[in-house]
Structures are given as structure tokens and as C-alpha cells.
Symmetry: C2
Subunit: 380 residues, 2 copies
């Protein structure tokens, strides 16, 4: 088996220690770890510990600056624009979400945008922050250019997720998805597993469908030579590819155009330079539409109706968004998290880089079959 | 050929006259006509004159009440909930959008929801209203249940479009799309053309893919027996069907859950009863993020970059959203609008119903090959 099981506590201890060694204070390290491990706990392997190598490289190459502090550069009672000054995306985004919540408490609705940030983890972490406080949360981010939009072979847009969360019983509605068919992280996971991509996920530098994960990742890392991931809806308008392209545009506009930051195609992957990631965070107090308890009750009823609908296949359950994640969360809190050996190998090299004892943090593990991360090739 | 060409003036005259005969005043008839013809001018055949039969039947059956006036039932400086009292969707929605613009002028952002309305035409008409005034416009609506969500064979959600518009040069960014792979209107158009649906658009009452447009429309009209249109992303999670399902949820929450109205699965198609449609309208003043001219310039630059990207096929142009619609608009304003003969037959029966001289309004036309509208079967 290519996975090693770690308890949540074990991973927490490793991440907290590593991020402090990287230059963050105790509270900051805890915050970053929390975002990262929520992804693994929710079963979103693409955005959990497998992303540690990305942060490692970004800090090592001077792209993420551990001492940077976010700054509010423009503000109204319902909005703000924040300059992240190339800090860690998670810390800037928690700051931005707290600000949006504070403004929504007073104004009922708030829209905060961020520029000059870095990768922020799962978009849904920040909508969860709002949702946990009884609000509707909406968040988005752009990324390095990765999406080949309809009729293009050149990636201009990012994976550009949109996330949305709203309180409900017994689970909140929690939706978080890249506007590409799949996120880049999924290609990384397939590459680590040496598994071919599904047809209709990605194209190569000629604009043709490509199922070789490593080749597509190379195309993405080469920037501008062509090749990337298709929008949700696929390669043609017949199957709605222009719709995924449209949702990606909304994410890009919210994040980059409204923050004055870099659009995905102007993100930077260079030593000493911040990536230029942009995000957006919208917080809405349901009480601007009436009784919030009644609104929550109505959503809960509707979610149950969706789950109880007639099944296409009697043996396949119907889910509402966020349900699988909550089931995964409960299971993994008890049973631990399976980490791919390639990811474990990356964690070992983080130990080497930071002078940590890998046996103490990760145990005696054999990572002989591990694949080398594509992030080694990402920086110019 | 199965199409008859009419000038915009000719169609305007017919629609204005018909809607006044249906019981609307001159200004209201003009408003409804404007929404309807913008769809045809933009090349969105599914939502233009081919939808007249739907409004005809809805008024005839007492579902749309021409004398109803929208009422604000809840309000804050940044929001409102409107009860449409079963009026014509277009009139209620213009009222709601005007209200949202008025609030956004003062507060910077406004979110207005609507319940107890009827079909409102293209969602993008209302975002265009906001965009024409320099704002970002976002709108959504639910509909009768039509979408078979992931793993379900029963339609619970509606076609649930999300529309988004924002000022840019030389064209605004104007995105308007059902969160289903295709809207119901597209099935109506294929049915009128006796053309098979693309595989992956719809399923039948057994939950299997179905390419027979008439059969799927029958399934939809039967309500609750199974069958409907798939979410953008298709039938499986592998191709992102759960994402289209998620976007549809956002539209449903914005429209129905936040207005206190009927979710799509509780819409009514019964003589004497309003459909229960719900909508949402968000208006954002870009100046809450800085200089609106600079924001517009930035979006314009980015849209150009997208259009100028390397093409997958050198002979196939890359578009940004709203560009095709503007090209179509200019062409059709000059050359007129091609109307399917089945739609012309429906317009003739509207003349008969209202006591209008069809030859005067539509000319001497042979509609022998016309298909009968599925709307005759829609009311119980």
C-alpha cells in the first residue's frame, strides 16, 4: 500500500513545528495547520498535507514572506481591499474573513477582496468560518493560470474555485469546488499514484485532450506554452464548457479585478517574488432577509428533500454538499489520515530542510517508491 | 426552411399588442416585450418569442395575474424581500432590480430577493440593467423542477440560471447560463426541430441518459415521476456534475431560501395558481473597491487577453461572454429575427385567442409542419 496512516495529533504536531521553524509564530503556525488539516479531514487530499511541498518551496524561494502583515488599503462600511504583501495566504485570508464578518455584523453584508497574497488552501475554510458564526460565506481565489478556456489552448484563467457555505441542520450546506473540471491538486494526486487522467479533464500544448498527469503538470509549470485543465463542462460548448469558463470569470473578477491585483495569467513563479494571488470573501447575515432561524429551517428541509429524492441507482446514495466532508471528518478524527508516501517523502525533505528529526515526527518509513514533486520544476 | 424572418419592429408590434390584450398597460407590455426580444436579439432562441406560448398559457390558466403589483415585505438599507403576488415575472424583476440599484447607490451593495413570481425571461436582462448604469449585476431564478441532481433520477432543482454582468470595453462582460447543461428552452427548440439531444444532457424516468427531447419534456411536465436535465458537468462526479449541482444550489438559495418562497420542487403548475417562481438580484457599485474607471479598464484588458490567447484550432475564434450576443444583436437589428414555424403557429393561436388578425401581425404563413407545444400538457 502506498499510504501511511497518521493520527491527526501527529500531523498537527509536525505541521505546527514545521511552520514555526519556517518563521511563523505559534499562533500563526496553528492557523495554517488548521486550514491544511481541515482539507485532509474533509477528504480533500489535493489540498491537505500533499500541499506542504508547495508551501515549503514557496517559503524557501522567497515567494511567501513569513513576516509580512496584511494591510487594509481601501475601505467602506460594506467592503475592503487588503494588500497581503506576499504573506502566507491562509493568514491573510483569516484576517480578511474576520474583517468581513465584523463589517457584516454592522452592515448586514460585506465584500472583502485581497491582492498580493499566496495560495490560501481550501476556499471553503473561510466560508466555514462565516458559517460557524451563523452567516452565509462565499469565497473565491485565482491561482497561477491553469484553465484552458473554451477554444483556447493557452491557460489564462486559474483553477479559480468558488466556495459557498450556509448554516443548516444536521449539516451546513458547504460547497467548495474549482471551476476547472478538477483542481491542479487532483492532477498531483494522480501523478503521485501514476494513474491516467479521465478523458475530458485536460489538454496538452497542441490543444488536444491529454490523460498524462505529469505531462499536463509540466505544461502548466512551463507557463504560456499551451496545455492545462478544462473548465467544468468540458472542452465544448455543447456540454457547457463555456459555463465553467464563466464561473471561473466570476471568481477571477471577484478576486483580482476587484482587488486591483494580478489576474491569474500575471501570477509570478520566480525566486524572491510573491505569487500575486488574489482572493475574495463575502459574508451575508441571513437576518437581512428575515428570521435567520426560519431561513435555516427552510434550507434544512430542502436539503433533506434533495437527499431523499428517488435514486438513479437504488444502491447509490444522494448527497448534499458538505455531507461527505462531515462524514470523512468524523471518520478521520477517529481513524487518522492516510498520507501518500510521496507526500511523506516531501515531509521528510521538509524535516531535512528545517533540521527536524524525521523519525521523531514521521516514524521509520520507507519512501523508496515516492515520486518527485513537480514543484521542484516550478520556479524560474 | 422552417424559419420565417420578421423585423424587430414587426415582432415588437405583435408582442406589445398581444400583451396589452392580455391585460397589461402600455408601459408594462413594452417592458415585457423588451425582455423577450432582447433574448431573440442576443441569439438566445430558447428565451425569445418561442416562450410566448408559455406566457399565453400561464395567463390563460390564471397562473400569471396581469393586475398584480409587487410588494416590498421586508427591507434593510442593503436588502429587500419582494412578494410578487403572482404577477408577470418580468415586471416584478424590473421593479426589484430598480430597487436594488437605488439601494446600491446609497449603500454600495444591495441584495433583493423575490417570491411568488413567474418566469422572468432571461436572467441577464436584469444584470444588463445594472451594468448599463455602471454597476456589477448578478441575478438568479429558480424554476419548475427540472434538474436531476447527482445520483438522483428525480428532478428537484430548477434550471436555476446564474447571470453576471460588469462594464467593460468594447463590450461588457455578460454571462447568463442555466446551471443545467442546457436550459429547458433548448429542449423545446430541439423538439420543434425534431432533433435528438446530445448524450449527457438529460435522463429519463429510469435515471438513464435519454436523447428524445419530447420524452424528456413529458417527464418534466409529469413532475416527480423521474427524468430531467443534468447539471453542467454531466451525470457523474468524475466530470464535475456535483459542481453544476452546487451552482444550482447557490441559485436556489439566493432565490427561494432567502426570499421565503417556494423551492423549485414546490412550484405549482395548476389552473388559477401562481407558479411560485423566486428570483434574486444583487447590485454592486464597483466604487466600493476603488476607482470604477480603473476597475473597468482592468477588466477590459483581461478580456482582451482571453480573446487573444493561443487558439486550440487556429480557425475557431475565442470569445468572452457577451461578445457573441452583441454580434448577434447588431446583425439581427439589421437583418431581422428568424422565428421557427412552430413558434409562428403558437403566435397565430395567440392571435386567435385574443381576437387579433394574424395576417396583419404575422403575414400569410404556412405552419402546416409545426409541432404542438408541450405547454398544452403542462397544466393539471
Amino acid at each position: 500500500m502506498d499510504y501511511i496512516n497518521y493520527s491527526v495529533e501527529k500531523l498537527e504536531k509536525f505541521c505546527n513545528t514545521a511552520f514555526q521553524k519556517f518563521g511563523f509564530n505559534e499562533n500563526e503556525a496553528k492557523q495554517i495547520t488548521d486550514v491544511l488539516l481541515l482539507a485532509d479531514l474533509y477528504g480533500i487530499e489535493s489540498h491537505g498535507t500533499q500541499r506542504l511541498v508547495r508551501y515549503h518551496k514557496a517559503i524557501e524561494k522567497g515567494s511567501v514572506k513569513p513576516n509580512a502583515k496584511p494591510e487594509i488599503v481601501f475601505e467602506t462600511p460594506v467592503s475592503a481591499v487588503i494588500d497581503g504583501h506576499d504573506g502566507m495566504g491562509q493568514l491573510i485570508s483569516v484576517f480578511a474573513t474576520e474583517l468581513a464578518i465584523e463589517k457584516a455584523l454592522k452592515s448586514g453584508i460585506a465584500f472583502v477582496t485581497v491582492r498580493n497574497s499566496n495560495h490560501f488552501g481550501i476556499a471553503g475554510y473561510y466560508t466555514k468560518m462565516a458559517c460557524d458564526r451563523g452567516f452565509i460565506g462565499i469565497s473565491s481565489t485565482n491561482s497561477e493560470s491553469i484553465m484552458v478556456h473554451t477554444n483556447s489552448k493557452e491557460a489564462i484563467l486559474g483553477s479559480n474555485p468558488l466556495a459557498f457555505a450556509m448554516p443548516a441542520e444536521p449539516y451546513p450546506f458547504w460547497f467548495d469546488a474549482a471551476t476547472t473540471v478538477v483542481p491542479r491538486g487532483k492532477l498531483e494526486v494522480y501523478n503521485k499514484r501514476s494513474k491516467p487522467l479521465a478523458s475530458g479533464w485536460a489538454t496538452d500544448e497542441t490543444g488536444k485532450v491529454c490523460t498524462d498527469a505529469e505531462h499536463v503538470l509540466d505544461c502548466i509549470n512551463a507557463h504560456g506554452e499551451g496545455g492545462g485543465i478544462l473548465p467544468v463542462g468540458g472542452i465544448s460548448e455543447e456540454t457547457g464548457g463555456h459555463k465553467g469558463y464563466g464561473y471561473s470569470m466570476i471568481s477571477e473578477i471577484f478576486s483580482a479585478i476587484l482587488s486591483g491585483g494580478a489576474t491569474s495569467n500575471h501570477h509570478v513563479r520566480a525566486v524572491g517574488k510573491g505569487a500575486g494571488s488574489c482572493h475574495s470573501f463575502i459574508v451575508i447575515d441571513p437576518k437581512i432577509f428575515g428570521d435567520p432561524d426560519e431561513i435555516k429551517r427552510r434550507l434544512s428541509v430542502f436539503l433533506k428533500e434533495l437527499r431523499d429524492a428517488k435514486r438513479a441507482d437504488e444502491n447509490i446514495q444522494i448527497y448534499t454538499h458538505g455531507e461527505k466532508e462531515r462524514i470523512s471528518y468524523e471518520k478521520r478524527m477517529k481513524e487518522g489520515i492516510n498520507v501518500n508516501i510521496s507526500t511523506v517523502a516531501e515531509m521528510k525533505s521538509i524535516c531535512d530542510y528545517l533540521g527536524l528529526d524525521s523519525v521523531e515526527f514521521l516514524g521509520e518509513v520507507d519512501t523508496a517508491g515516492a515520486k518527485t514533486s513537480t514543484y521542484d520544476k516550478a520556479y524560474k
